[in-house]
Symmetry: D2
Subunit: 247 residues, 4 copies
């Protein structure tokens, strides 16, 4: 692979309508993440797509040249068209990696891939979060300490209604008494999916060095590999089989 | 639990339109399965629902009194309404067990719960199948030999596009050179899901003692248990937490 | 099954040598657990075995009539003979359930079944623990609220060096800033294994109604089922295979 | 990473004592594998270790500079010293990858990491094997067709007594009627483990292009990454916790 082509999909509404968010992310959360990623080794290109772009930022020429997509949405999950969700979904099954961030847990694409409600608890008092590594050999933990802290966050709590992750990478501790499965890996078709909790729009989460490192590690982990072709449908038997019966 | 209430959902089209199938299952495949189940210990009631019944066999009074549903469909997956699929889906997340049989792999409800295409290979020459137990401690294998054979079947082959099962219970060998993950367990929300491969309509599969035993074991395994209540949404912190910041 | 036969294996040293523990558990922790279990439905018999009993409490007539064993040890893991560990291990592979409690994480039998160090963090300041249900459809959570608290505990923290659990049932939150995978399920051979964290000897943990309920649920979940016989070694081919080559 | 340092551990007995094997692998199976690996991209060094080498081929200077070890053994599993097994085991928990080949399923190191008997069925009539990819997005399948065949093999059949794999990559079909989980991934501590079935000494398996490709893919997949340090033992609480009780 000559380099990973990333699309950072960002809803892009809070940044334009909320003064607190605008001050934190003047160019948008997507740009902040993209700016970081494009400086990292093994990253070929980083494109930012937003909901108000052409084809909701998901035209064919973007989708077909994306190895890994990151997804942040919150207010406008319902506005992403079912047709576009179906196209992203097909790309994931065909091998595109998907990194779902924070409130993206309720996006159509994540729920469609999970097959569950993806509901959770939440509270927004700016409490402290500690994110613990529980799978220290996983590539997504590369370069991290055994835990890292975010001083002020929106809390997400269990029960998080997801299929049990294939790998559980992070578990969060919150000051207010909750825990959360903060970093979760799954595979659907040939595509790798990583959900990562941090990211509320009113806190400067995407300036945190550890958070950015995790997103970058996630992109590298989710980049596709594997066989090119799988045959489905009606197939011939091995040459020496005698049909046992005419149905 | 005073007994498991089962609904056998059966598409019920082949049995009415195809002479071979009519001869094999004069009362329908659903009735054949139901007749067996209702004689087994721990089964309270067995109801047969078909696509041409009221509300496609899925009215509220049936759904709300079903502990485990079995699902067989083939020709008319698309005819099951999205609204009914959504209602079965919600019941599974709330704890109803679901046993998906044979060509039900392509049903809307199974694909919605899996989050993948559920595509596979197939061939219909009446070849031999050996179904091997690969998880001999699993309750679904109770009373079975280490493998059992079906002399004439439709073949299903890999790659089967499903999320990796939580437990892999059976793997099939086919005379014509294929293998298949024939018995697979997952959980979605509070609901247990079991996919079981055997069951083509033109072969007398649902008269086979081992096949029936597996369906019965599956019903017992998938019957719900667990906590009654999960709280979601906005919640209060532990009493001694001081909000760290006003967001 | 006519009822589950339980053996509560208890190291039985702290209760005899430490005044605090003696006051809490005058008849031993094993007796306290056994007393509760033997009043519950579906439990046939409960036997308490201790390290200073005949054959370290693990003679053949006990092992061969035990469906589920609970294991509590702390100071004397090394004193359990390798031969006895090997015999318990074989019973687990053959289908006996095993419930490993608290400091039993470092027992020889648990480490042998896990294949890892089972190391963890710990701290003993009597802090608060909240045990969250993260798999609310799992039989081990039956009858529980979405979380329960223990006011004063010894803390266990991540990273806990275990193979990723087949099912993650509980995750603990600790006042002092740690999280822990507190309830974990695995299968080894035909045997089901449940690790449950609570239980330090200097706190009255085994008087807590929720803790006792979890142990009971665990016993029911771990009780064996499944096929009687698996053939291994050299076997004959299907009758119609022609050996392709003489090796 | 500047390149993967591989050690190919080979028992090296059949090649010296059996004329058939000597003719197939005049320099030993280990050399045949090593010769292939050292020509591949990303491989830094390949060292062949054999049982009759110094420290059974496992001295500290070898172990401490090995990123991934492959392991082939058959006749002399019992001769590998427990002390050497413990040292390899510790290296795996610390992050060294391990590729276990064919009859290595019964090696001390594999059984210690699995926590099960690793028993299986077998038959040696030179029958045909088809190895099916069941996880086409997995890095270990890169560059492979959807299945590949080996014309004459020793058969291994289910039930294979292993913990359910974290990822099931390959399943084999055998002419004589059996199936087998031929490619299985696990993690233990920080180390990745891949079991790959093919490799009987009396057939030219390690000359097959697909088999060699899988071993190479496995080496790349198992190469270590992840955090450097995990703290265990007694730890301090978060600064603002008040000990709730003196134990």
């Amino acid at each position: 692979m000559s380099g990973i082509r990333v699309t950072v999909w960002n809803e892009g509404i809070h940044e334009k309508s909320d003064e607190v968010v605008k001050a934190l992310y003047p160019k948008g959360m997507g740009s902040q993440i993209a700016q970081y990623l494009q400086k990292q080794p093994r990253i070929a290109t980083v494109h930012v797509s937003e909901l108000d772009h052409d084809h909701q930022g998901l035209p064919d020429d973007i989708l077909n040249t994306t190895d890994v997509m990151t997804w942040w949405g919150h207010k406008a999950h319902a506005d992403v068209s079912d047709e576009n969700v179906a196209r992203v979904y097909q790309r994931v099954l065909d091998g595109m990696g998907l990194i779902v961030l924070h409130s993206g847990h309720h996006s159509k694409i994540f729920r469609k891939l999970m097959g569950t409600s993806c509901d959770l608890k939440w509270r927004e008092i700016g409490e402290r979060e500690r994110i613990w590594v529980v799978d220290p050999g996983h590539p997504i933990t590369e370069g991290l300490p055994e835990y890292f802290e975010l001083p002020h966050v929106e809390m997400y709590g269990e029960h998080f209604d997801i299929p049990q992750p294939d790998r559980q990478v992070f578990i969060s501790w919150f000051q207010g008494g909750e825990v959360f499965r903060s970093g979760c890996c799954w595979q659907r078709g040939k595509g790798k999916i990583f959900y990562f909790r941090p990211g509320h729009e009113t806190f400067p989460i995407y300036y945190d060095a550890n958070v950015l490192r995790v997103i970058y590690n996630g992109v590298k982990w989710a980049a596709p590999s594997g066989v090119a072709t799988v045959i489905r449908g009606n197939v011939e038997p091995i040459e020496d089989v005698k049909p046992a019966v005419s149905p």
